[in-house]
């Protein structure tokens, strides 16, 4: 296969839009990033910013009204969108798997939970026999902290946390190179969320798997990921090592997002109120999409999309970055 030092995933200039009654909604615009093998990438942003659309693009699971207007998604150097539907089908789960947002509804209510995982294992011929497949599921259950006996149960007999674990076990079932976790803990209570985050991180390190963790919860992303990208209005506005981004945010949006997040530890610092609403993506504002809400906006922000400012792997798309160590690239 390819060199281990090559990125596992390259997203290059991805743009996606949806045709709706209200016109064309530009869900993703010119998103590019790379993901190294064995590392954890976080995508942060508010609802409607395009995080989930990016995930669906990677899986190539798009609704009928979606249109890929530009860009490529390279998985191990292979363009996902150039594969035939059948080739793509064989890539799914084997190469990229996904933990869906609504774990409650991801398990089919009429089949036993174990059966739904075995189904994926058999489709991709990961194990030669039924017995081996069952043993594999039992192993996965133990890994995510579930009693293997629960395989024989139906989804409605599981609690929310158990279902989420079963869904994670399902995502791991075919040893994927990349797992996308889309808001995996949103509906869960903090104590359960804490456990699942710990297990996810432990498993990722143990299996040396890559992971893309999508969430609006900055705290969870900060704890789980190595690299983080911040999305706003369909664009990736800032990206870098998690520590860099969260300690010295460069984009005013990142900074605003962080300071509007209440915290229970440390001093009670005042929260920032971000005025206004995210833009309508069927009619986005010209220039930087954040300018109507940005305190630092100037005329240039209102007319031209900002270039990248960069320092090492940390970059932001802003005319007036808060972190001055980031410099414009030629």
């Amino acid at each position: 296969m390819t060199d281990r030092s090559d990125p596992l995933l390259t997203v290059d200039g991805l743009s996606l839009s949806y045709q709706t009654r209200q016109g064309e909604v530009q869900a993703i615009r010119n998103v590019s990033f790379e993901l190294a093998r064995g590392s954890a990438l976080g995508l942060v942003g508010e609802s409607g910013c395009g995080k989930t659309s990016v995930a669906n693009c990677l899986m190539r699971l798009l609704p009928d009204n979606a249109r890929l207007s530009a860009g490529r998604v390279l998985l191990d150097g292979q363009d996902v969108f150039l594969l035939t539907e059948e080739e793509m089908r064989l890539q799914r789960w084997r190469r990229i798997s996904m933990v869906f947002q609504a774990a409650m509804n991801v398990l089919n209510p009429v089949y036993r939970v174990g059966q739904q995982i075995i189904e994926a294992i058999e489709t991709h011929n990961v194990e030669p026999t039924d017995t081996a497949a069952r043993e594999r599921v039992a192993r996965l259950f133990r890994m995510v902290g579930l009693d293997p006996q629960l395989m024989e149960r139906y989804p409605h007999e599981f609690s929310g946390g158990m279902r989420q674990r079963a869904v994670i076990a399902m995502a791991l079932s075919c040893d994927p190179d990349l797992m996308i976790a889309d808001e995996p803990t949103t509906a869960l209570d903090v104590i359960v969320q804490d456990r699942i985050l710990r297990e996810l991180k432990a498993i990722q390190q143990q299996l040396a798997m890559s992971i893309i963790y999508i969430s609006h919860d900055i705290g969870a992303v900060a704890e789980v990921t190595d690299v983080v990208g911040v999305m706003y209005a369909g664009r990736l506005v800032e990206m870098g090592d998690t520590a860099d981004v969260f300690q010295t945010p460069a984009h005013p949006y990142t900074a605003a997002l962080m300071s509007s997040f209440p915290s229970i530890s440390g001093e009670r610092r005042p929260l920032t109120n971000l005025p206004g609403e995210p833009p309508n993506l069927s009619d986005p504002p010209p220039g930087c999409p954040f300018h109507p809400r940005c305190a630092y906006a100037t005329d240039v922000c209102r007319t031209e999309y900002p270039p990248q400012v960069k320092s090492g792997s940390h970059w932001a798309a802003c005319w007036h970055p808060l972190d001055v160590t980031l410099v414009p690239q030629s």
Partner: protein, 383 residues
């Protein structure tokens, strides 16, 4: 689960009791009381009238008559038919109920299968002329004026093409000189059908134990073999020709009933599928890389089936109603035609008996659907 079924069955028994009561008072409520219909009927000899008076307590007050009627019904004494005098109502119905059952069970099974199959196909490949055409023609058939449609079928397939007989249960020319009765032949046909279905179910169960990896190709030859054995047995028995005659008479009514009732299931399946397709587990199934057909059949259609099974009650009752019309057009001697003749000749005991049987039939359908639903939905099974 058992508790649920027991409760449902209990409700059904109660419903049946209500139907008996309802029909009784319906007949009571009409101008001229129940008694006068018996007493004034000129066809009846005087001693029979006395007998009826005694048996039904017609000189007693209404509530006593009702109790007597209830007791008679529960002990299977449904009275004596005027039109088929002196045959008891129960005897007449015992002959006719199986004929209706065969007609409408076959038609329902076939139309449910076709409707489900087409419905999931048009929902999966949405848009285009196929969906449009299937929906329009489905709606046309579903709402077609059944008698006219049945007559058209007769005209095309019986008169113009001459493939099938015009109507009735059997052809007297074929049966002349036969030393067995039609009921005997028909009864044996039912037995063979039941035997074959049991055999098929056993084969399916047996194969399922070997797991999913046993191809379903194995099942087909075994089932075909079983069918062949039955056909050969009938041919050797000497009454195969008579059975064939009955089968020939069955084809057209069954086909007509199927055509008018499959569309309901089809359109419902389409809607149910369209809702299920949006469920997250269908997307998850696709994400898992399952083949398209497996996503459609095992995930989308399997769940879409649940509301359709619930509505199977409607389809069954639609088919019972439809069979009344079909029987009258095809002169098929089943419960429906019996009811119609009884109504026309004011043969009240037979009317009440036929209603009772039709009601029982639809209640049974109800219970069967409940059991099926419990089997299909584990969420109910474990309550």
């Amino acid at each position: 689960m058992t508790g649920y079924l027991v409760r449902r069955t209990g409700q059904m028994v109660l419903t049946l009791f209500l139907i008996i009561t309802f029909t009784f008072f319906l007949v009571q409520a009409q101008p001229g009381d129940y008694a006068s219909f018996y007493v004034l009927n000129p066809d009846l000899p005087p001693e029979v009238k006395d007998q009826i008076r005694a048996a039904f307590g017609l000189d007693k007050p209404a509530w006593q008559q009702y109790l007597i009627h209830l007791k008679n019904t529960l002990t299977g004494n449904l009275g004596v038919s005027f039109g088929n005098f002196p045959r008891p109502v129960l005897d007449v119905l015992a002959e006719r109920v199986p004929r209706t059952l065969v007609l409408f069970l076959t038609a329902t099974a076939v139309s449910f299968y076709i409707g489900f199959f087409l419905g999931k196909a048009i929902a999966w490949r949405r848009g285009g002329l196929f969906e449009y055409g299937a929906t329009i023609s489905g709606a046309m058939l579903f709402t077609a004026f059944t008698p006219a449609f049945a007559l058209m079928m007769i005209w095309v397939f019986a008169f113009r093409l001459g493939w099938f007989p015009v109507g009735k249960f059997l052809d007297p020319l074929v049966w002349r000189g036969a030393d067995v009765s039609a009921n005997y032949v028909f009864g044996n046909m039912l037995l063979s059908a039941a035997a074959f279905i049991t055999f098929a179910l056993l084969v399916m169960l047996f194969l399922k134990r070997f797991g999913r990896r046993v191809p379903s190709v194995v099942a087909l030859p075994i089932l075909l073999g079983g069918a062949l054995v039955i056909v050969v047995a009938w041919t050797l028995s000497g009454i195969g020709g008579l059975a064939l005659d009955i089968v020939k008479h069955m084809v057209l009514p069954v086909a007509t009933l199927t055509l008018i009732s499959f569309a309901g299931t089809m359109l419902l399946t389409r809607n149910s599928m369209l809702e299920t397709i949006r469920e997250d587990y269908v997307m998850a199934a696709r994400a898992k890389g399952l083949p398209d057909k497996q996503v459609r059949d095992r995930h989308a259609a399997r769940n879409a089936m649940l509301p359709i099974v619930t509505s199977l009650v409607y389809s069954l009752i639609f088919a019972i109603d439809g069979s009344v019309i079909i029987e009258s057009v095809f002169s098929w001697p089943g419960t429906g035609l019996t009811l119609l003749e009884a109504v026309r000749s004011e043969d009240l005991p037979l009317v009440m008996g036929a209603m009772l049987f039709i009601g029982t039939l639809s209640l049974l359908a109800h219970v069967i659907v409940d059991v099926l639903y419990v089997y299909l939905d584990p969420r109910i099974r474990y309550q």
